[in-house]
Symmetry: C2
DNA sequence: CTACATAGTTGCAAGATACAACCATGACTT
DNA sequence: AAGTCATGGTTGTATCTTGCAACTATGTAG
């Protein structure tokens, strides 16, 4: 019993340490990635900002969504999304069609142009990261992505 | 031989997919975390912004640095750092002493007050995340932190 | 001694976001 | 069917943060 309590306490401590470490690594990641994200956005189109890129990439990767969905996914204000959407429309990177099931909503999807641009980016991305991540096994990358996905899911309520 | 080539190609594809997935998760994380970061900054002091927190935390965790170092670490403009530093000085969260080796520079360190506040934050952090991450084993958290640490190391040159 | 680089500050402009007010549509109640 | 409330989306506004550039002061190299 004494031992059980001790074990639980150690677990608590380990949890705290792990969370603390996680926080630190996330902080580092955040800083590093911000610039890369902005660069990538600029590669799609020079006028695109760092926020617009993940948004567009989501549409390209997971198919059409409504603006409200995007706002929810990215924990972004409706207004902010609205403006980004207009920017993307202006650049012909997304297409907007009325939602047949809801007169208020529109369905947003990545345009052909966007798909092409994004596909081209895969190459530059591979080049960019390939070297840096050369000592990673694909499985290890997958595991990290999975871990992050689960983490994201956990902290999104 | 044919088989070997096929295997390699599959690996390449998996790498690309993994990197793409990783990128997406990182994007999500970025958006999600920013708010939490701002909250945490506010917990240290209501006037602090989301940028100031990681900066202060770095000083607390890794010891004194010069402003230019911080600008470099965070890929932030000199001016932006300068303003955050002044904000932190105003709030008595950091201490500035002249660099004995360079008359132009100052050494910044976290103040006692900051250390205390940050320590207190560990508790609120535990409360905040504890519930959300309750279904994570400590080991799993550790693994994710490790994975991120390795990833950060890889992409930091 | 002169030229050039670096640390840091500040003015300025641009960009992004949150908040709130607003309109149109839909859902639900009675 | 009318009325009420919720939801999708747009836009105006205020604020905040940042990058750029100019400037001062100090250090370094030829």
């Amino acid at each position: 019993m004494m031992l059980a309590v001790g074990t639980e306490h150690r677990d608590e401590v380990r949890r705290d340490e792990a969370m603390s470490g996680l926080e630190h690594e996330i902080g580092r990641l955040l800083r590093r990635v911000r610039r890369g994200l902005a660069d990538r956005a600029a590669q799609v189109d020079p006028e695109l900002n760092a926020t617009a890129y993940p948004l567009l990439a989501t549409l390209a990767e997971f198919g059409p969504h409504r603006a409200a969905d995007l706002a929810d996914m990215f924990a972004l204000d409706k207004g902010a999304v609205s403006r980004v959407v207009h920017q993307l429309l202006e650049l012909d990177l997304i297409v907007r069609t009325p939602d047949p099931k809801d007169g208020r909503a529109s369905i947003l999807s990545a345009s052909e142009k966007a798909m092409k641009r994004l596909a081209e980016l895969v190459d530059s991305r591979r080049e960019e990261f390939g070297a840096l991540l050369s000592d990673w096994e694909p499985d290890e990358l997958v595991d990290l992505a999975k871990g992050l996905a689960r983490f994201n899911a956990s902290i999104s309520e």
